[in-house]
């Protein structure tokens, strides 16, 4: 089995994305990816690979193919709507400058 020719797709464990919560109160953050035959072993591998120095208190693993991503080429139109809407930021409102607790 081990000396099978390269590129034998059936012989490749699926890819998982690993998210680690570094401490209570924080979100899980993407740490990297790894290969594992199932979710349980992906979790164990993720623990060994990404938390050797107490980097986490909780781990999520997600099959990479289950992630839907926005199209990078559609950057312009997809993220267009906030453009020109400065009034969504507190810094837009300058007349109230100097007023306390506002």
């Amino acid at each position: 089995m081990s000396n099978q020719p390269m590129g034998n797709q059936t012989n490749i464990w699926p890819l998982w994305e690993v998210f680690v919560r570094s401490s209570r109160g924080l979100s899980h953050v993407h740490a990297g990816s790894l290969h594992a035959p199932d979710a349980e072993m992906a979790l164990r591998n993720a623990r060994d690979l990404y938390t050797r120095r107490n980097e986490g208190v909780s781990i999520w693993v997600v099959p990479s193919e289950a992630i839907t991503a926005s199209d990078p080429d559609a950057k312009g139109s997809f993220f267009e709507s906030p453009q020109g809407k400065d009034y969504r930021h507190a810094t837009y409102y300058t007349k109230s400058e100097g007023v306390k607790h506002l």
Binding site: S2, G7, P37, D38, L49, R52, A69, P72
Partner: protein, 331 residues
């Protein structure tokens, strides 16, 4: 007329490439990062796949000289430290394979290139580790040179590579320090121990300096890598900087560097070191180093010996999956 429909398709494709190239150039000019789904020039993808996978192979092969000493470590403390370091190197290899995979080549393919002897890895790991003091010299000089090389790579233009390097650099500093400590203890030990430490430094000095790659005037790919913001400093620049650091550190060790020409040049503000044997470097890279065959053989053996683990894991996952489905069906 028959050829007509082909025309717009071809034009459209090159249009897309043109737009992609423009976006890519803009991102590089802004010193921002390229991410896996972005358009990128084929040569950029190829260069990175080669560089990152070679880097990953180096981490994996690099486990061997030190792993050989785990059973012979002089104390339980040193044994635990060495095991943790070797385990880190395995981790570094995996971070880097993950980064390489985002460029489109599966890990199994990269691994097979290594097993087939078609891939390169850092020449330093083809030198033998003869004594316990070598564990010190490897940590101090080899991991030290790796750090000097890798810190600028944290800002490499390819996002996944830079992020893997950040993680790796954080872990490397312990590697260098534990090596330094081994040498420090030996150099303050018996005369024989001090001699052993000096001998290890003597053997690893030149090969460690060669880790930065050939001199600038013989490094044809460097220019393009720097234009792409993959590489930030030239080989010679990084090498002289590293020499300057270890020239100071070696004094703390009470040892010397085997380099009669070593000096700081006030005029250029740079460190001058001896001429290195670049023919030796080329020979080792080409597979004619002292341990090339042994390292590859060991890697193949380890991969073959792990086959049953991979098969068992797959079978277990399959069975557990089936049981889960049956349970769900019965409920």
């Amino acid at each position: 007329m028959a050829a007509a429909p082909l025309q717009p398709v071809a034009a459209e494709a090159s249009e897309e490439d043109r737009a992609g190239q423009a976006a890519f150039d803009r991102i590089i000019a802004d010193d921002s990062r390229i991410e896996p789904t972005d358009w990128m020039p084929e040569a950029y993808r190829k260069t990175l796949t080669r560089q990152i996978s070679q880097h990953a192979h180096s981490e994996i092969i690099g486990m061997q000289p030190e792993a050989n000493w785990i059973t012979r470590a002089p104390s339980l403390k040193r044994k635990s430290i060495l095991m943790a370091k070797v385990q880190d190197e395995a981790g570094h290899g995996l971070y880097l394979y993950s980064a390489a995979e985002t460029l489109g080549t599966p890990r199994d393919v990269l691994n097979q290139q290594l097993l087939d002897g078609k891939a390169k890895y850092s020449s330093i790991f083809n030198y033998p580790a003869r004594s316990w003091a070598d564990m010190g010299a490897i940590g101090w000089l080899v991991d030290g040179a790796a750090i000097a090389n890798q810190v600028p790579l944290c800002r490499a233009s390819y996002g996944p590579y830079g992020r893997a390097m950040v993680r790796i650099c954080k872990e490397e500093s312990f590697h260098q320090r534990q090596g330094f400590e081994i040498l420090l203890e030996l150099s303050h030990g018996t005369p024989e121990q001090k001699k052993m430490a000096q001998d290890a430094v003597n053997r690893f000095y030149a090969p460690a300096l060669m880790m930065f790659g050939p001199p600038d005037d013989d490094s044809p790919n460097s220019k393009q890598s720097m234009a792409w913001n993959i590489k930030r400093f030239s080989n010679d620049e990084l090498r002289q900087r590293f020499v300057g650091m270890i020239a100071e550190q070696v004094k703390v060790l009470g040892l010397t560097l085997p380099d009669p020409e070593l000096r700081f040049d006030e005029e250029t503000g740079k460190w001058i070191h001896m001429e290195l044997d670049w023919q030796e470097f080329k020979d080792v890279i080409a597979g004619r180093g002292p341990c090339n065959a042994q390292r590859l053989e060991r890697r193949r053996e380890a991969h073959a010996n792990g086959a049953w683990v991979r098969e068992a894991a797959r079978a277990y996952a399959q069975k557990a999956g089936q049981r889960k489905m049956q349970k769900a069906g019965a409920a």
